[in-house]
């Protein structure tokens, strides 16, 4: 990439990597650098190229164009078993014929680590994933969560340059998954392991990552810290794939003093930043940033409540304004705060700093 300083500190680097399967392009001219010690997530729907990207790092796939680097060593054509990585597979891929200890020791054994040293490392790794005492069991005798920990232990015991995680939590139930997220993250921090995490679960990506690359059709749509990705989505795809977003098409009416007045079907409101008058914009605002006011307040835009879904911590209020459906999340800060009913006329406020301008301009129809 252009910034050679950050490249020196990256554990994984792609330079214009393209991978095709027949005519289909799985990864398109992808360049990226994953900083040392970071937890990096590849997020996107199935078929977006995230798994292919991971497999290109592992060497299970070879790029058609471009180069792959691990710790500044070019590994584009290097066989997987000569690359410095470890991987946790989607279904764990624990060897059923080996005990937990033998599974964890496998990589060390293949690397020629002496028996005694191996035993120590295995013990330490098992302790790290809280599986001391399970060494002589077979994978079949373990629960899903325990198998997951064995898979993690088997990977981290290798002290790899990069740890690859291929949707490793997908096979677990919700509660276990949330606790494993926390554990995995703290383990990663403790070991300072550069980690590449593939997931289609946006919440998981937001919870765990230092940075997220949102992928679509073989390219990265947006790359950044979780907060940046969530709060300043660059495209409509990112805005809707990560959480919910209200999409509003608007036209700039006037501009000045670092802010602009824009007009949408339901009325006028203010947008941060100067824009040339007459420009058509596509805007996004998160539902939790939409403010509701009882009645028709001056300065608020008119809307009608169509439906209210009570969710405990919050309520989802479905609104309609100027023919455009809008969604607002209201915190259950006080009973009155969520006391809305269908058919009620309300005013909505779209705070200027919460409105995000998306790339690509407005479409002909909202």
């Amino acid at each position: 990439m252009s910034d050679s300083g950050s490249a020196a500190l990256s554990d994984v680097r792609f330079e214009r990597v393209t991978k095709r399967y027949g005519k289909a392009v799985a990864v398109k001219a992808l360049s990226l650098a994953i900083p040392r010690g970071s937890f990096f997530s590849l997020l996107g729907p199935s078929g977006c190229g995230k798994t292919t990207t991971l497999r290109l790092i592992a060497g299970f796939e070879t790029p058609d164009e471009g180069d792959v680097f691990i710790r500044d060593t070019r590994v584009t054509e290097t066989a997987p078993y000569r690359r410095d990585f470890a991987m946790v597979f989607q279904n764990f891929a624990l060897f059923p014929h080996l005990t937990v200890a033998d599974n964890v020791a496998f990589g060390l054994r293949m690397s020629g680590v002496a028996r005694e040293e191996r035993a120590k490392a295995v013990e330490a790794a098992l302790a790290m994933v809280k599986l001391t005492g399970f060494a002589e069991r077979y994978p079949k005798q373990l629960s899903g969560g325990q198998q997951q920990r064995v898979a993690i232990a088997r990977a981290i015991v290798m002290k790899p340059a990069v740890l690859l995680l291929d949707e490793p939590l997908g096979a677990l139930d919700k509660n276990l998954r949330e606790s494993m997220q926390v554990e995995l993250r703290s383990l990663q921090r403790e070991l300072g392991l550069t980690t590449v995490f593939v997931t289609h679960d946006q919440e998981e990506a937001l919870t765990m990552s230092d940075s997220i690359a949102v992928m679509r059709d073989g390219v990265i749509e947006q790359l950044g810290a979780p907060r940046e990705i969530y709060e300043r989505p660059a495209t409509e795809f990112v805005a809707t794939f990560l959480g919910a977003s209200n999409l509003i098409d608007a036209t700039v009416v006037e501009s000045g003093n670092g802010s602009s007045q824009v007009e949408a079907t339901f009325g006028r409101f203010t947008l941060a930043g100067s824009h040339p008058a007459g420009e058509r914009l596509r805007l996004a605002i998160r539902p939790e940033r939409v403010l509701l006011k009882p009645g028709r307040d001056s300065g608020a835009l008119p809307a009608i409540v169509r439906d209210v879904v009570y969710r405990g911590m919050s309520a989802h209020v479905f609104l309609e304004s100027g023919g455009l459906p809008l969604l607002a999340f209201v915190q259950n800060a006080a009973s009155a705060a969520i006391d809305w009913s269908p058919g009620q006329e309300v005013g909505i406020v779209l705070p200027a700093e919460s409105l995000v301008r998306l790339n690509g301009g407005a479409q002909a129809h909202g």
Binding site: Y81, F95, F106, Y138, P139, M158
Partner: protein, 290 residues
């Protein structure tokens, strides 16, 4: 009380369900085997199935007679050679077939099975046409001037082993190919991600995970080898008799008790070798039970 009688009915229902197969097993397997065992302890008789006196002479003959030792050893070595050939050739073939798309693999496996649809007798005669004194091999060798008199290729250890091997090979290929095809590709990738090169991936992952298929293939091959008769008779002739030929010869000379005793010797050999195969391959380890 109601639940008690219900439980009773259920037990009867379960019994009724297993009774027919159990009965078939008893009548057609256990009873004949037991009666055969009983026969094997009797003196022979010219007019009856067996004479009235009880004797251990048949087992003593099998255990002490050098002639029987020669034949048993020959039977075991034939089995060993066939097992080794089937293992190497069958595994290699299966290894090539396994990664193919299921439809293509099935088609090729079916192609392998086609020879099994031809009677062993016909196939043995096929080998005779190839290996006989006037067979293809000898004809070619003679026409090219390499030999003057035909070579004795038939009636030899090699002819029997090779002929049987060609019959057994498909069984090995099918069971190994199925085992290999059912191994999740992730295991191989996992091994590679843990620094195992292709050779060590094979030794430490693919081979053990395919061991149930290898074991069932080897058991099939060995047991079918022990019980093969037509091929042995046609390709081996009287010079290459195996234990099963002696069963036939004993029956042909009305020594049913000796035939029964040799049959049990065969059964014991089958059990011992099966046990050895299982002990060496440990197919149960794939189930995660040591």
């Amino acid at each position: 009380m109601a639940s008690g009688s219900f439980r009773l009915t259920r037990r009867w229902a379960a019994f009724a369900l297993v009774a027919p197969p159990l009965l078939v097993f008893l009548v057609f397997f256990v009873v004949p085997l037991v009666s055969l065992f009983w026969v094997s302890f009797h003196a022979p008789s010219q007019s009856e199935l067996y004479g009235p006196e009880l004797t251990l002479e048949h087992y003593a003959t099998i255990l002490t007679d050098p002639f029987y030792h020669t034949i048993i050893l020959r039977t075991l070595s034939t089995g060993a050679v066939i097992l080794a050939l089937c293992l190497v050739l069958g595994y290699a073939t299966a290894y090539v077939l396994a990664p193919l798309p299921p439809r293509k693999r099935l088609l090729l496996l079916l192609l392998l099975v086609v020879p099994l649809m031809v009677s062993n007798v016909v196939r043995a005669y096929g080998w005779i046409a190839i290996l006989g004194r006037q067979g293809l091999v000898n004809a070619v060798l003679r026409d090219t001037g390499l030999i003057e008199r035909p070579l004795l290729l038939l009636n030899s250890f090699e002819a029997v082993s090779f002929g049987l091997m060609t019959i057994m090979l498909p069984y090995m290929v099918i069971s190994v190919a199925n085992a290999l095809a059912s191994i999740d590709a992730q295991y191989k990738e996992a091994a590679q991600s843990l620094r195992a090169d292709p050779v060590r991936t094979f030794i430490h992952v693919t081979w053990p995970l395919s061991s149930p298929g290898v074991a069932s293939g080897m058991l099939l091959v060995f047991l079918l080898t022990l019980s093969a008769y037509v091929t042995i008779t046609l390709l081996g002739g009287p010079r290459m008799k195996l234990l099963v030929s002696l069963v036939f010869d004993s029956v042909g000379s009305f020594r049913w008790p000796l035939a029964a005793a040799i049959s049990f010797a065969l059964l014991v050999m089958a059990l011992i070798v099966s046990g050895l195969i299982m002990a060496l391959l440990r197919p149960q380890r794939v189930q995660g039970r040591g």
